[in-house]
């Protein structure tokens, strides 16, 4: 067994030995993955996993390094980039990935990616056109 494998086993023992917690965290992530476009909130997530809202945030952060909210936003932005690249309009994209306000979507998108959804869409489309 290599040094790396020994270390991995040690770390697994140290931080992933609580199987119940790990499974709860995985359950939360799977739910976000499958329902990112709906109106997700902590209330829904905590009812589904039978844990308090505060415990849920702490648990998720412990095992994924981000809060559920941060994870959800990253997921939505990634999906928005996908849709915009395929040519979906900015407004359609905004609602398709779960945002409820065009203004906050545009601001958030620009903060995260450096360009507005419209500019991003245009750049991606012109690139795929120039390729073909």
């Amino acid at each position: 067994m290599t040094f790396y494998e020994q270390e991995i086993n040690r770390i697994r023992e140290a931080i992933y030995s609580n199987e119940g917690q790990v499974n709860t965290a995985i359950g939360i992530r799977n739910f976000i993955e499958q329902n990112y476009e709906s109106d997700l909130n902590l209330e829904i997530l905590s009812k589904m996993q039978f844990v308090s809202k505060y415990h849920l945030i702490r648990l998720f952060k412990q095992y994924y390094g981000q809060t559920p909210r941060q994870y959800l936003i990253d997921k939505r932005i990634a999906k928005a980039k996908e849709q915009l690249s395929k040519g979906m309009s900015v407004t359609e994209t905004c609602f398709a990935v779960g945002f409820s306000s065009l203004g906050s979507f545009s601001t958030l998108f620009k903060t995260r990616t450096g360009s507005s959804p419209g500019a991003y869409r245009k750049a991606q489309l012109s690139r795929s056109n120039s390729k073909s």
Binding site: Y4, I8, Y63
Partner: protein, 131 residues
């Protein structure tokens, strides 16, 4: 300040280029001649072509401590770096079919699944998937 280039030390740039493009599936982004036959050679992933570039750097050939560090990491099984994939098992199967050798088979650890392979250029590389 932006993170645009990350490097990986390789003994042979052309060999690394073949492995990283043909087997791993990365795309060439920049290829600029430097002195002594070396190149500023960077790659990007297919689905993030505007994302960070991976520089294939011939460091171990020119700077002994780099080679010493690279050898020590490889011998202890420690990955130089890791790449994210959607499905570790599927990627493992695909790479094994292409003759890539793994030192760690797909393994679950809490909220991640990972595997480690030999890049044939001096490094262990990890692939990982969030569970």
């Amino acid at each position: 300040m932006r993170i645009t280039v990350l490097s990986i030390p390789v003994m042979d740039q052309e060999k690394a280029f073949q492995f990283y493009t043909k087997k791993l599936g990365f795309l060439k982004k920049k290829d600029q001649p430097l002195d002594g036959g070396h190149r500023w050679l960077t790659l990007v992933s297919k689905d993030a072509q505007d994302g960070p570039e991976l520089l294939l750097e011939p460091g171990p050939l020119h700077f002994e401590p780099c080679k010493v560090f690279q050898d020590a990491l490889r011998e202890s099984g420690i990955p130089w770096t890791g790449f994210e994939v959607d499905d570790v098992q599927a990627e493992y199967d695909r790479l094994v079919d292409l003759g890539v050798e793994f030192s760690v088979k797909p393994t679950e650890m809490g909220t991640v699944k990972f595997a480690v392979f030999n890049d044939t250029c001096g490094n262990n590389i990890q692939i990982m998937e969030l569970l």
